[in-house]
């Protein structure tokens, strides 16, 4: 992992993977929302969510293998961001429940919100931590 002049370190493409995963669940959400108030076909959004979940897991795996990384900063930013985005996701889940969304559609929407609420903190935490100094810290 080398440093460029502006301090950007060469690290795995965690940010790009997180953005792709987030974009996939957003596309799935738009697809489902386009059919509201009816329930649209679930095959395509389910496939998108599955790929997104796989990317999220792969990203977590890649991230946890990083050794020379500012884990303290990562968890500080990601933790607060997770709290904030969990609140936002909870608010949207609340809207779905109030609107009598049930069954497979509710499950899929919940998974979408869950992935979204994890992708964003990873992205924010990584984006900050990559520019921070490290003391050869290990993931905790």
């Amino acid at each position: 992992m080398t440093n460029s002049l502006d301090g950007e370190r060469r690290l795995p493409r965690v940010a790009e993977l997180a953005v792709t995963s987030m974009a996939l669940v957003i596309v799935a959400g738009i697809y489902l929302a386009a059919y509201l108030p009816r329930q649209g076909p679930l095959l395509l959004p389910t496939a998108l969510v599955a790929v997104s979940a796989a990317l999220l897991l792969a990203n977590a795996f890649i991230l946890l293998r990083l050794r020379d990384f500012a884990w303290g900063r990562f968890f500080l930013v990601a933790g607060w961001a997770w709290l904030a985005y969990l609140l936002i996701a909870g608010m949207l889940e609340f809207v779905f429940l109030i609107d009598q969304t049930r069954g497979a559609l509710l499950t899929l929407m919940t998974v979408i919100l869950l992935i979204f609420s994890l992708d964003v903190p990873i992205l924010l935490g990584f984006s900050v931590a990559r520019y921070q100094g490290t003391a050869n810290s290990q993931p905790v």
Partner: protein
Amino acid sequence: MAVLLAFLVAAIASNWFWALDFLHVAGGGLWTGTDLFVGLVVGPILGRLSIPARVEFSARFMPKMVLIMPTLVVLTLASGLQLARVMGNLAVPYPNHWWLLASFIVVGVMAVIALGILEPANLAVLFELKKPKPNGLLIAKLMRRFIYTAGITGVMQIATLVIMTRIATW
């Protein structure tokens, strides 16, 4: 923030039409206005300032944006979805339904840009500024990213204005 979110929950839980309309219009107006102002007015000015001036401005400006923007976004989106349900807008047939779909797509693209590029750059600048010796080159690079993406979302907000005024008057 807590008061606004509590107000949002009360409005959604009780389907309080005025409150939903108020939160959607006020939140959306502020979100759009802020995005346009930052992207098209503040951004270009900031781009012409010296690096120390940018650093000083960013140190005061960014923390406020980190709190204000997500609050406005959640107020606008959650109240907007519920408002559309209450008013029956979600059930309108095509071709009018295309306008709804367009609004979802514009919001989705803006979300990817804002959360994927703009907000990470915003936070990275904040943490760089907290260092005893901030890296001016890095800040300039991240601020450029912030300004360009704020400009793009600003322009997309104009599309949102067109769509929303169309939906409100069909």
